[in-house]
Symmetry: C2
Subunit: 187 residues, 2 copies
DNA sequence: CTCCTGCGTAGACACTGTCTACTTCCAGTC
DNA sequence: GACTGGAAGTAGACAGTGTCTACGCAGGAG
């Protein structure tokens, strides 16, 4: 295992244990058994190391999401996403920290962009019609938003089971839109 | 204007201009015309100052969201939320940084919790039925997720207008659920 | 007048990420 | 085998960070 890989591995472990605010370039280097100057040979900047950690985490998630989307299994894909957010909140939060990762490599949009395209294709096949791009974005927003809220335990005070909310969400988006009636025009 | 208020005001301006990574306790103090030790008299910690900034921003947003919810105008409430995320991305990101704000005062859940309750009530009135808690969470997730994605310009490469996605989203959630048919049972 | 509390200053402290020599090691070439 | 060059790691310095402590200074209460 290369020193570069070990930095990413050790960094991931420390991040999950202590949170982003509880770690530093120096603590990762020290836990990896090298001096504080060593990471510079592999990453131009601390943010670049964090981007590499985020990139690897996203690839792990992709290994579960991509096959589900390819199999038109929206429920499994969304459940994998939600599960990752709940079980590895620090990594999920890091991936969402675009302010840190933008311009620091990582190239996360390559993966999430593909998800978006595959989601549209899967939605088209399950509903047997071509969804408008806005419909795909609306569904994606719901899954991502639910994962974000769940990840930071914002849903706990309500006592709602996120998995049940996910079922509701998928049901509303992956079936044909109902004809507008009654209440719809009230706003 | 008290020194405490000025720190929050100046901090908000600096945050919106330079981003969270581009400011510091010392830069805020200096811009407010006091020494770097002065903020300590009003905030026990830098995170507490950031929490006060987040709190004030959330109160401003609440001034637009709460009346819309009270008037059962889901569209206006969601549009205000989306607008805030798009126009003040640094503030929106700070509010979402629960890792920073948790335990540093601010008490943001008091506001967002009320939103959630009011959203459920408004949804009940517009749909003329009692929504399951999971349905309220699903709608809330969609609005929040869309705002989060829009705020960090993640939707731009798709060319989709977030406002149109919001309309789709509200339409799917604020009308009675359709009877399951066809594709729905395929997953 | 004497406290004393609220607010601000100035300096120190440990820690951070980055930068700059200086060493070490090892594959490739003559 | 000796030499060289580049990659990788070390150690120290540097400016900047948040926090802590000692001190100053006003102004009201007793």
């Amino acid at each position: 295992m290369s020193a570069r890989d070990r930095l990413v591995t050790v960094g991931t472990e420390l991040l999950e244990e202590h949170g982003l605010a509880g770690i530093s370039l120096r603590s990762i280097a020290s836990a990896a058994g090298v001096s504080h100057g060593a990471p510079r040979r592999h990453f131009p900047t601390y943010d670049a190391l964090l981007a590499a950690i985020a990139r690897r985490a996203l690839e792990e998630l992709d290994e579960r999401v991509a096959p589900a989307l390819a199999a038109d299994d929206l429920r499994a894909a969304a459940a994998a996403y939600l599960d990752f957010a709940r079980r590895r909140p620090e990594l999920f939060a890091l991936i969402a920290r675009h302010d840190l990762l933008e311009g620091a490599g990582g190239n996360l949009r390559e993966i999430t962009g593909r998800w978006f395209a595959d989601l549209g294709a899967a939605l088209a096949r399950t509903t047997r019609r071509t969804p408008a791009p806005e419909e795909v974005l609306a569904l994606w927003s719901g899954v991502h938003g639910l994962a974000a809220l769940t990840s930071r335990r914002a849903t706990e005070p309500t006592g709602i089971d996120p998995d049940r909310a996910l079922v509701v969400l998928l049901d509303k988006h992956s079936t044909p839109a109902p004809r507008s009636r009654g209440a719809a025009k009230s706003w």
